[in-house]
């Protein structure tokens, strides 16, 4: 069993890797219903940032898996064998789904504003536009069913940032601090918005890895922080946790 942060898209949606698009849609719908932040089951066990994080992951999981080429890329990244039947199946599903809903643009890597948006309202599939609530303008929904040009856009983060960050930047604490300051945010402000204590934030920015909580916990924190700073949460978390893992062994 793995924490949700370590689950792949199939595990998150609790689907076999051969799942059809229809199955993906209904698994997503079901998962969003179950992991509703307003549900007493969630509120007692997970903090709101975690639930929001999970919901974002579920959304990304669905958006990736229902897109044939994104899914193929993703499957390859998981090391899944390229199934002969799956793409066939998917193609059929796409036709089926195309009749009930227009295809829509691929998800941007980042979702600015999603943490301030309405977390309780999962987007119905048939309404593509409201999905993108932030500054990323929804592309005009093309009515052709050619997914290729859309897929090409997907992997590239498209947003301009207040501070220019190189593609291969290493997100250490110092860089995170600079980015935060360049956006005019104080530690207290970030703390209030992410609900991470100022002490933890200071430790993250000072790269005091020994003082940081367990990785599972830390990852959620870094993701929340990155989102607040309008960075790609996954990329930042990966980069930061790699630094933590590579740091000299803790003396404990």
């Amino acid at each position: 069993m793995k924490p949700y942060q370590q689950q792949n898209y199939y595990e998150l949606l609790e689907l076999p890797t051969t799942a059809s698009a229809a199955e993906i849609h209904s698994a997503y719908k079901r998962a969003m219903e179950l992991h509703d932040p307003a549900s007493a089951a969630m509120y007692a066990l997970a903090d709101p940032a975690q639930i929001e994080d999970l919901r974002n992951l579920l959304l990304r999981a669905r958006d990736t898996l229902i897109d044939r080429s994104l899914r193929a890329d993703y499957d390859r990244s998981l090391g899944l064998p390229e199934a002969d039947s799956a793409p066939q199946q998917l193609a059929m599903d796409e036709i089926l789904w195309a009749s009930s809903a227009p295809p829509r643009p691929p998800p941007p890597i980042e979702r600015q504003g999603s943490s301030n948006g309405e977390p309780g309202a999962p987007e119905p599939y048939s309404a593509p536009a409201p999905l993108l609530s932030g500054t990323v303008e929804p592309e005009s929904t093309p009515l052709n069913d050619e997914p290729a040009p859309l897929a090409a856009v997907a992997p590239v983060p498209v947003r301009a940032r207040p501070k220019e960050i190189p593609q291969n930047a290493e997100f250490n604490g110092e860089l995170l601090r600079q980015i935060r300051e360049s956006q005019g945010l104080s530690l207290v402000q970030v703390s209030e918005r992410t609900r991470i204590s100022v002490r933890h934030l200071e430790n993250v920015e000072a790269d005091r890895y020994d003082a940081l909580p367990a990785t599972v916990y830390l990852r959620g924190m870094v993701i929340s922080l990155a989102r607040e700073l309008k960075l790609d949460p996954i990329r930042v978390a990966r980069s930061y946790l790699a630094l933590v893992a590579g740091a000299p062994a803790k003396q404990k």
Binding site: M1, P3, L34, A41, K250
Partner: protein, 334 residues
């Protein structure tokens, strides 16, 4: 399949003709006894209602069942079954006044069903000494029955947790309200860490557990976090802990559900445990909110005998079916 017989009669379906060994094949061969503990941390959530009626449902299916009122401080399982204060109770056995466990087993008014009633007022017995307790657990487990059902006290005291952990299957009852859900979380968490504590192992597992307990860091509050932390300390021991976490299974029963959303709550809780916490829960069913349930309690009659067709009774029967289905699956794995 519903019983037609009246309370205290032996004319329920199957009647005396079904002897204990007639339990369904596949179960009896693999293992003679199964122990089910019913807990949930909070009081007044229907633990006793579930124990009594689950026992009746299993007995009606031909299993030989003994109910144990393990709530030594506040026993009332007998009342739920319509039995007046018994002359001998589990307290007599724990305190040594009754020499053999068999002496405190009384018929429960339904074929195949017996009861070990809980204590009257012996508050000292509510906290039996460790040796008394382990003797009790051992002898309970040795009873020649198909199902042993333990009705646990509220709270997360060590005695409650140890009864819960001796069971093959722990059922956690919760009501669709935040307080009850929180208590259920706390209860399962406490039970899990109690089980880890009991691991006597050369791998240093015990050390890790007590170290983590002493730290009491919020960051170690879930098995996920605990295992991740343990991995940084002692990878071999962490592996063992991981196994414990993945083999720990409890069942979940939602009582007094009033809406479809409440039924979904069971799935949501199970999913939250898996995604955020790191333990598997089997959702075994919901018992609908039903005035007949409290009416039956007032009449001191088990619901399954009083109103076998009412909504809550149907839910209880479904829970019994699901428990049996889970046991069959378990038997296949073993």
């Amino acid at each position: 399949m519903l019983p037609t017989g009246m309370w205290n009669s032996s004319t329920n379906e199957g009647g005396v003709a079904i002897a204990a060994p007639a339990a369904p094949p596949g179960l009896r061969k693999k293992r003679a006894r199964r122990i089910i503990a019913v807990g949930g941390g909070k009081g007044g959530i229907g633990k006793t209602l579930l124990t009594a009626n689950l026992g009746i449902a299993l007995a009606q299916r031909g299993f030989k069942v003994v109910l144990v009122d393990a709530d030594l401080g506040g026993a009332n399982l007998h009342t739920c079954l319509g039995i007046s204060q018994p002359a001998v109770t589990l307290s007599d056995y724990v305190s040594g006044r009754a020499k053999k466990l068999q002496e405190v087993i009384i018929p429960a008014g339904v074929d195949n069903l017996s009861l070990i009633p809980g204590g009257r007022d012996a508050l000292d017995a509510a906290n039996p000494k460790y040796q008394q307790k382990s003797k009790l657990l051992r002898n309970l487990a040795a009873l020649e029955v198909d199902y042993l059902l333990l009705d646990l006290a509220a709270g997360t005291s060590l005695n409650v947790l140890d009864f819960f952990l001796m069971a093959d299957r722990g059922l956690v009852v919760l009501l669709p309200e935040p307080t009850s859900i929180e208590n259920a979380y706390r209860f399962i968490r406490a039970a899990f860490f109690r089980r880890l504590q009991a691991l006597k192992d050369a791998d240093g597992v015990a050390n890790l557990v007590s170290e983590a307990m002493a730290k009491d860091e919020p960051a170690l509050k879930t098995p996920f976090e605990f295992v991740a932390w343990a991995r940084s300390q002692n990878p071999a021991a962490a592996e063992r802990l991981q196994q414990e976490a993945s083999s720990f299974r409890a069942g979940l029963v939602v009582n007094q559900s009033r809406s479809e959303a409440d039924q979904d709550l069971g799935h949501a809780v199970a999913s939250a445990w898996k995604k955020f916490f790191g333990l598997s829960l089997d959702y075994v069913g919901a018992i609908g909110y039903d005035d007949n349930a409290w009416r039956a309690v007032r009449k001191r009659r088990p619901l399954l005998l009083e109103r076998p067709d009412c909504q809550a009774a149907v839910g209880l029967l479904k829970v019994a079916d699901n428990v049996l289905a889970l046991d069959r699956r378990l038997a296949q794995v073993r």
